[in-house]
Amino acid sequence: MKKLLYFLSFISLSLFTNSCTDDPVDPVVGDNAPVLIFTLNPGTGFIDGDKTVEAGSTIKLKLDGTDSDKDLTSLHIESKNGSDTATHVPSSVILVNGAPANGNPISIPSADGENLRYSIEFPTADVADTITYTFSLEDSKGYTDFVSFTIITTGTKAFELTGKKLSNASGPAGMGGIDLHTGNEVGSSDPTAELVDLGVINPVSDGTWKQQFKAATVETIIRKPLAGFDYSAVFNADAIKSAYDAGTNISNPNIVGNKDDVYLIKSGIFYWAVKITKVVVTPPLGMGGDNLDYFELSIKR
């Protein structure tokens, strides 16, 4: 009987130790730890390491996370400036797969607990700086893996004013000019105006709005950008100056403005990119009109 017991015990032990073959791939991480990696071939516009970009631009990256325990719980996005303490990037500026982040750390739904591929985007610093970003993937047991990269920003972020008006100079007093610094409407002879409207064709005989404007003073210079300039893609003040420097002078100082026209403007040390987003024409005065015609402008500085 004893021999039989020994025999059965031996069989048990043999089955236990030999029932599985060794893993063919050397394990390189702990049994429970997740792995986070930049997605290979992520597509155009995605970064997968250190990068120098214009201040205020948006960076996009794609990450693959995997965890055999299927218990991925959160993704932390932290930024660190020099010797400062790392802080979480505000969730309000983060997009995950095109939708606003549910927080930072980003809470990972159970459906993504084993494998995830997240496309993440957020804006860089507004001024020239060097910031290291770290993305940490965490599971329910507290195991983590991370990727990090450094973004160097150059120049200064451009700020934009939208829905600003340059109105018919033949309209009421206090209109006909625009202060590009503030976007405020001012009178056509106001000293703060950079651009002034040219009013109607003839106040006496033809009240039709000319739909023209010009630089208010010789200090203001208006140029056309080179072909291919994309107003919507400009988010850096230095880029506006560079575009101005590369732009072409306009021979006729009286400029006919049309929707979607873009101009690069310099006055003193200031540079703007101005886009006409709308042209609103009302009937001439005396024909049921009011001389309240205007250009609607978006202005970046």
Binding site: P24, L40, D64, R117
Partner: protein
């Protein structure tokens, strides 16, 4: 009493057998053969592409060898590889990509330490789809050093057999790829 004891031992034996594989390892569910053949076709196209460019770095430290990243004519990474040499073995691991997705990995090892006086060659292939293991197969050939010239013939004769892939397989492969990417800037 004896019957109870025997039954208990048999039950324990069976439980240990099932638990030892079922817990940490699982066989990949049988994939559609078209999925596997599609992957084989894509891998063959990558291997046959003469326009592929290699960027590599030598391994330093404990591991000796070389890691490489291969890009196609459009600059897309199509293959990542790692070759490691020790005093008793050589192992080449290759990872194949279709776009952003890992579709296949193959590992070929030549080992002189596993069997005294013989060389054990092991070829392992993994197929992936939707970030899951579709299939894991392996074959081995053991040769005397004098017969190594017959390796190709012997390897071709040997049949791949499915084996229970570790549940960590996908993650471990990703970890290797991550390391390789970090080594090659």
């Amino acid at each position: 009493m004896k019957i109870n004891l025997l039954s208990s031992l048999l039950f324990i034996s069976a439980s240990l057998f099932l638990a030892s594989c079922g817990g940490s390892k699982k066989a990949a569910s049988a994939p559609a053969s078209t999925e596997i053949s599609d992957i084989d076709t894509k891998v063959a196209a990558i291997v046959a592409n003469s326009s592929i460019t290699e960027k590599f770095a030598d391994l330093k430290g404990a591991e000796k060898g070389k890691v490489s990243i291969f890009t196609n004519e459009t600059g897309e990474i199509v293959k990542v590889s790692k070759k490691v040499t020790t005093s008793t073995s050589e192992k080449l691991s290759e990872f194949f990509y279709d776009g952003s997705n890992l579709i296949h990995s193959s590992h070929f090892e030549r080992n002189t330490a596993k069997e005294k006086g013989k060389i054990v060659f092991t070829s392992t292939k993994h197929y992936f789809g939707n970030s899951k293991v579709l299939s894991a197969v392996q074959k081995s050939v053991t040769l005397k050093p004098a017969d190594e010239a017959n390796l190709e013939m012997k390897m071709n004769k040997a049949k791949f057999k499915a084996y229970p892939a570790s549940s960590n397989l996908m993650r471990d492969e990703m970890a290797i790829i991550k390391k390789i990417k970090q080594l090659i800037k």
